[in-house]
C-alpha cells in the first residue's frame, strides 16, 4: 500500500520548531508592475496573524503617512526611522519604509526593507502580500524581470490561509 503519511509526518517534524513557511509560488496572474504606486492599497483576503502594534509608534506612522502624502519622503523617512528605533523589527514599519522608498524611487532600499519586513513578519496575509508586491515592483525597476514575476506570484500565495499546525 502506498500512502502519503510518512511524507506528511516528516514534513510536520521538520516544521515543528519553525514558523510556517509559505507555499512555493503558484501560477499567479499578477503583473510585475502592479501596485508600483500603491502597493499597500490592494485588497487582501489573507489572515493577519501579527501581534498588536506598540501605541508609541502610532503617531509616528501617522506623521510619516502625512509627510508621504505630500511627497516629502525625506521627512517620512525621519519619522519611520524614529519608529524603528522604538520597534526595530515591526513588519508594518519596515514595510511602510519600503513603500516610501519605492515612491522615492530608491528601489534597492525599497527591496531591502520589504525583505526585512517579510523576514520578521508573519509571512502570510496582508502584510506578506504587500512585502512581495513591493519586492516585485522594485525588482522590475532594477531590471530583474524573472525575480519580479516570481515575487508577484509569492504575493498571491500570501493570501491563502496557512495550514494549521498540529
Amino acid at each position: 500500500m502506498n500512502h502519503p503519511l510518512p511524507l506528511l509526518t516528516l514534513t510536520l517534524l521538520l516544521s515543528a520548531c519553525t514558523g510556517w513557511s509559505p507555499t512555493e509560488p503558484g501560477s499567479g496572474p499578477a503583473s510585475p508592475s502592479a501596485g508600483v504606486q500603491t502597493p499597500s492599497s490592494q485588497g487582501s483576503n489573507g489572515v493577519q496573524v501579527f501581534p498588536l502594534q506598540n501605541p508609541a509608534v502610532k503617531d509616528l506612522l501617522a506623521d510619516a503617512g502625512s509627510a508621504e502624502s505630500v511627497g516629502d519622503y525625506g521627512k517620512a523617512v525621519v519619522f519611520l526611522e524614529r519608529a524603528l528605533r522604538i520597534e526595530p523589527r515591526d513588519p508594518e514599519i519596515l514595510q511602510s519604509m519600503a513603500e516610501v522608498q519605492l515612491k522615492n524611487r530608491d528601489y534597492e532600499q525599497a527591496l531591502n526593507f520589504a525583505v526585512r519586513s517579510y523576514d520578521s513578519g508573519p509571512r502570510v496575509g496582508e502584510i506578506c502580500s504587500r512585502n512581495w508586491r513591493t519586492i516585485a515592483a522594485s525588482r522590475e525597476q532594477l531590471g530583474d524581470r524573472a525575480g519580479s514575476v516570481e515575487a508577484a506570484q509569492r504575493a498571491s500565495a500570501c493570501e491563502s490561509t496557512p495550514p494549521d499546525r498540529l
Binding site: L14, T18, N54, V78
Partner: protein, 741 residues
C-alpha cells in the same frame, strides 16, 4: 596721518563686516524616547536628565528642572528644535515600575501620553580656532532692560556721542584724580567694542589713540543699532576652560542655563556687571563680589528710572540664580566626537564645522557612554589589581544592532583624555575574533557542512610562500582529534579552523570581509584564518553588527542629520539596509556563538553578567597574548572591547581574562533583549542525537535541538525516531478513522 587712518579704517571695517562671527557647531546626543514599556529605571533616567543639564528640585516649575517623588519623575521638558520640527516646553510625569516606564502623563492636562521625548544633551561644541564660544542674538530679541541697562551703566551718552565721549572722559579724569587711582573708565561702548575686536590688554597711549580713531570710524560707517548688536554678541563675559565666553547670549546659558529672553532683572544686572571684569566678578568663584557688583548695577537701574525703587529692591533680595556648573562642561566624549568629525569630514571642511554654527544630531546615548567609560576605566583597574600590567590600554565600541547607530565609543582607559583614539585608529591583529566568518562560509556550503559535521583537530604543517613552514598550535597545546564544527568554534580550536579554512579558501574569507565593509589589507595566507589581520575595534564592530542583525548589515553611523544654525536641513544620513546573502547561515552561526558563551571559551560570562539573558560572543587572543578581544551581542546591542599594550608588547591577556571582563561590566548595566534565535526561511531547528548527529525525536535520549541550513540536515535517523514515527503513524490513523487497530 591719512594713510594711517585709511589703514585703521580698513582694519575696522574688515573686522566688523568680514567677521560675521565664527560660531561653533553644537553636537547633540540622541533624544531619549519615553513611552510605556520602554526599559528604563530611575537611576538611568536621572543620569540622562543630569547629562542633558536638568537639575533636580523640590518642584519642576521651570524648564530644565525635574522632581522625583516615589517612582514618578516630573520633568519640565525644555523647548527644542528637533530636525523634524520644534517642540514646546512641556511638563510631563513619567512613572517607573519594575525597570520600565509604566505610564507617561502630560502634567498640565493629566492626559496619558503614548510617546514623549527629552531634548537631547548638548555633548560638545566644535569651536573656532580662536577658542571663542558664542550664541548669537538679534538685537530685536534682546530684553529691553539689557539694551538700556547696558547704556545706563557703561555709556550714558551712547545715543549722542560720535564714538568717543569727551564728557565721559572728563568725568572719569576728575573722578580718578579725586580718588588718586583709576576708579572710572571713560570708554564708550564703541571703544570697548574695538578693544574686544582686537583682543589686546595693551594700555599705551598710542593704543588708546588708535582705539579712539577706530571708534570714530565705526560710528561713521554703522548705525547705533548695529554697533550695539555687535557689542552684545562680542563682549567677553567669562571663561570656560580654554574657551572664552563671548556675548550675552552665550553668557546667559553659561551662567543661568536660560536663554537671554527669560532672564529676570537681577540676572540681567549681574551680566552687565560682569562687563567690568568677568574673572574678578565671576559669580561662581566670587559670589560675594558678584553680588555687590550686581547690586551696584541695580542701583544704577533705579537711579536712571529703568526699575522702580520697589522693583530694584525685589531684585536685590533675589539670589544670584547662577547654576552650580555650566550645563555643558565644555566638550565631553571626545572619542565619540572624533567619529562624528570623521563622518562629517566627507561633506564638510574642518573650517565650516568650526565657524558655521551647525547643529549636529548624533546617535550617542549619554548614559550608555558614561557606563562604557566607567566599564573600561574600572575594568582595567581591576585587571591591574589581579596582576595584569598597569600599562594596559583599552577601547570599546557599542552600537544599536538594528540601526547600526553608535551609542558609545571609548578610545582610552581615561574616557576624558584627548589623544590617541584606539577605537578608531588602533589597528591590531584580531585573532580568533575572525573565526566565526570561517565557520559561516562553511555553513553556506550546505551540502558539505552543518554544525555537527566532523573535522580533524590535528597538527598540520603548511608550506609558506617564502619557503618556510607554518605549524599552527592550539591555545592549550593539545590536538583534540575529530571534533564537530560546533565544538571547534565554541572552543576556538586553531588546527581544526585552519583545516576547515583551507577547504573554504582564504580568498573567500577576504572577499567576505570586503563585502562586510571592511578593508583588510593583507596577503591571502592561511594565518588569516586565525586572525592575522589588523583591524580597528570600529571595523570589528561593523562585521559583528551584520551577524547580530541576522545578516541585515547597516553601515555604522554616528551622525543622523546636520542643520544650519537657523534650522535649515543640510544633510541627512538615513538608515540604509544592506542585506547579506545566505542570511539563514548567519542565523545558524548566531546559535553557535551563543554556545561559545554557554559552554565555550566565554563560559565565564553568564556569571559575570549576573542575569539570565541569551548572549552571543567570541573571544580573541593574539600571539604571545598581546591583544585581548571580546565581541558580544544581544538582540539590541553589539559591543567590541579591545585590551592590550600600545607598544604591542606581550600583555599576558586573553580574550576572556581581560576584554570580556570589561564587556560584562558594561552589559550588566544595560537593558538587554536575548539574542533572536528564530530561524528565517531556509533554516530550521531539528532534534538530533548529541552523540551521533542523527535526526531524532524530542523524547529520545541524547536529544538536542540544533539549527540547520536547509539541505544540510542529517540524512540518517535514530532507531528511537523510527519507532516514534511508527507510533505517530498509528495514532494518526486512529485520529483519522476513529478506530482502534
Amino acid at each position: 596721518m591719512v594713510p594711517w587712518v585709511a589703514y585703521l579704517n580698513h582694519q575696522v571695517t574688515t573686522e566688523f563686516e568680514g567677521r560675521k562671527w565664527d560660531l561653533p557647531s553644537r553636537v547633540f546626543a540622541r533624544a531619549l524616547e519615553l513611552y510605556p514599556g520602554a526599559p528604563l529605571n530611575l537611576r538611568d533616567l536621572e543620569l540622562e536628565l543630569r547629562l542633558a543639564g536638568y537639575r533636580r528640585g523640590d518642584s519642576a516649575t521651570r524648564p530644565g528642572l525635574y522632581r522625583v517623588s516615589g517612582g514618578t519623575v516630573e520633568i519640565y521638558r525644555r523647548s527644542f528644535r528637533f530636525p523634524e520640527g520644534a517642540e514646546e516646553a512641556r511638563r510631563i510625569e513619567v512613572r517607573l515600575a519594575g525597570g520600565t516606564i509604566d505610564r507617561i502623563r502630560d502634567a498640565a492636562s493629566g492626559q496619558n501620553l503614548d510617546l514623549a521625548r527629552l531634548d537631547p544633551a548638548e555633548i560638545a561644541s566644535i569651536y573656532p580656532l580662536q577658542k571663542e564660544d558664542r550664541t548669537l542674538v538679534d538685537i530685536g530679541d534682546v530684553p529691553p532692560l539689557l539694551v538700556t541697562g547696558l547704556q545706563a551703566v557703561e555709556d550714558r551718552h551712547f545715543n549722542q556721542h560720535p564714538g568717543i565721549d569727551l564728557r565721559g572722559i572728563g568725568r572719569a579724569v576728575l573722578a580718578n584724580l579725586k580718588a588718586g587711582r583709576a576708579v572710572q573708565g571713560g570708554s564708550t561702548l564703541t571703544q570697548q567694542l574695538v578693544k574686544n575686536f582686537f583682543l589686546t590688554q595693551d594700555r599705551t597711549l598710542a593704543r588708546k589713540f588708535n582705539e579712539a580713531i577706530m571708534a570714530l570710524l565705526i560710528e561713521y560707517h554703522y548705525d547705533k543699532g548695529e554697533i550695539l548688536e555687535a557689542y552684545i554678541n562680542e563682549v567677553f563675559l567669562g571663561q570656560q576652560g580654554a574657551y572664552a565666553v563671548h556675548g550675552f547670549g552665550r553668557a546667559s546659558l553659561f551662567y543661568f542655563d536660560q536663554p537671554l529672553e527669560r532672564l529676570e532683572p537681577q540676572q540681567i544686572a549681574l551680566l552687565i556687571g560682569l562687563v567690568k571684569g568677568p574673572s574678578y566678578y565671576n559669580p561662581r568663584k566670587h559670589p560675594q563680589r558678584a553680588r555687590e557688583r550686581r547690586d551696584q548695577v541695580l542701583a544704577m537701574f533705579a537711579e536712571t528710572g529703568l526699575l522702580s525703587a520697589q522693583e530694584a529692591r525685589a531684585a536685590r533680595d533675589a539670589g544670584l540664580g547662577v547654576t552650580e556648573r555650566p550645563r555643558t562642561r565644555g566638550s565631553r566624549y571626545h572619542a565619540f566626537v572624533d567619529l562624528v568629525r570623521g563622518q562629517l569630514a566627507q561633506v564638510y571642511r574642518e573650517e565650516d564645522l568650526r565657524t558655521e554654527g551647525l547643529r549636529i544630531f548624533t546617535t550617542l546615548s549619554p548614559s550608555e557612554q558614561e557606563k562604557a567609560q566607567a566599564a573600561v576605566a574600572q575594568g582595567l583597574r581591576q585587571l591591574a589589581e589581579r596582576g595584569l600590567p598597569a600599562s594596559l590600554q583599552g577601547a570599546l565600541v557599542l552600537a544599536d544592532v538594528a540601526s547600526g547607530e553608535v551609542r558609545a565609543l571609548v578610545g582610552d582607559r581615561d574616557g576624558d583624555r584627548v589623544g590617541f583614539n584606539r577605537a578608531l585608529n588602533a589597528r591590531r591583529q584580531i585573532g580568533s575574533v575572525i573565526k566565526p566568518l570561517v565557520y559561516l562560509l562553511a555553513l553556506e556550503h550546505e551540502s558539505d557542512y552543518n554544525l555537527l559535521s566532523r573535522i580533524e583537530d590535528q597538527p598540520l604543517t603548511l608550506q609558506q610562500a617564502d619557503g618556510s613552514t607554518w605549524r599552527p598550535d592550539n591555545y592549550d597545546g593539545v590536538s583534540h582529534g575529530e571534533v564537530t564544527l560546533l565544538e571547534a568554534l565554541t572552543r576556538s580550536y586553531n588546527q581544526a579552523t585552519v583545516r576547515l579554512g583551507l577547504n573554504i579558501g582564504v580568498n573567500h574569507l577576504l572577499a567576505r570581509l570586503d563585502q562586510l565593509g571592511v578593508d583588510a589589507d593583507v596577503d591571502a595566507v592561511p594565518s588569516v584564518f586565525l586572525g592575522a589581520v589588523e583591524l580597528t575595534p570600529l571595523e570589528v564592530t561593523q562585521i559583528y553588527q551584520s551577524l547580530a542583525a541576522a545578516g541585515y548589515s547597516v553601515p555604522l553611523r554616528a551622525v543622523l542629520a546636520v542643520e544650519t544654525a537657523e534650522g535649515g536641513e543640510l544633510v541627512r544620513y538615513p538608515l540604509r539596509m544592506l542585506p547579506q546573502p545566505r542570511r539563514e547561515a548567519i542565523s545558524v552561526l548566531n546559535y553557535a556563538l551563543t554556545q561559545v558563551v554557554q559552554q565555550g571559551t566565554a563560559s565565564g560570562l553568564p556569571a559575570l553578567l549576573g542575569k539570565p539573558v541569551t548572549v552571543a560572543g567570541k573571544t580573541g587572543t593574539t600571539n604571545d597574548r598581546r591583544d585581548s578581544w571580546f565581541v558580544g551581542y544581544t538582540r539590541n546591542r553589539v559591543a567590541v572591547v579591545w585590551v592590550g599594550n600600545d607598544d604591542n608588547q606581550p600583555a599576558r591577556v586573553t580574550g576572556s581574562n581581560a576584554a570580556m571582563q570589561v564587556w560584562a561590566r558594561l552589559f550588566r548595566e544595560l537593558p538587554l533583549e536575548p539574542v533572536d534565535l528564530r530561524m528565517p526561511d531556509g533554516a530550521s531547528w531539528l532534534w538530533v542525537d548529541r552523540g551521533n548527529g542523527q535526526l531524532t525525536a524530542e523524547q529520545c535520549g541524547n536529544a538536542v535541538q540544533i539549527p540547520f541550513v536547509a539541505g544540510s540536515e542529517p540524512a540518517e535517523m535514530t532507531k528511537c525516531l523510527s519507532a516514534a514515527r511508527e507510533n505517530d503513524k498509528e495514532s494518526i490513523w486512529r485520529k483519522l478513522f476513529g478506530k482502534k487497530q
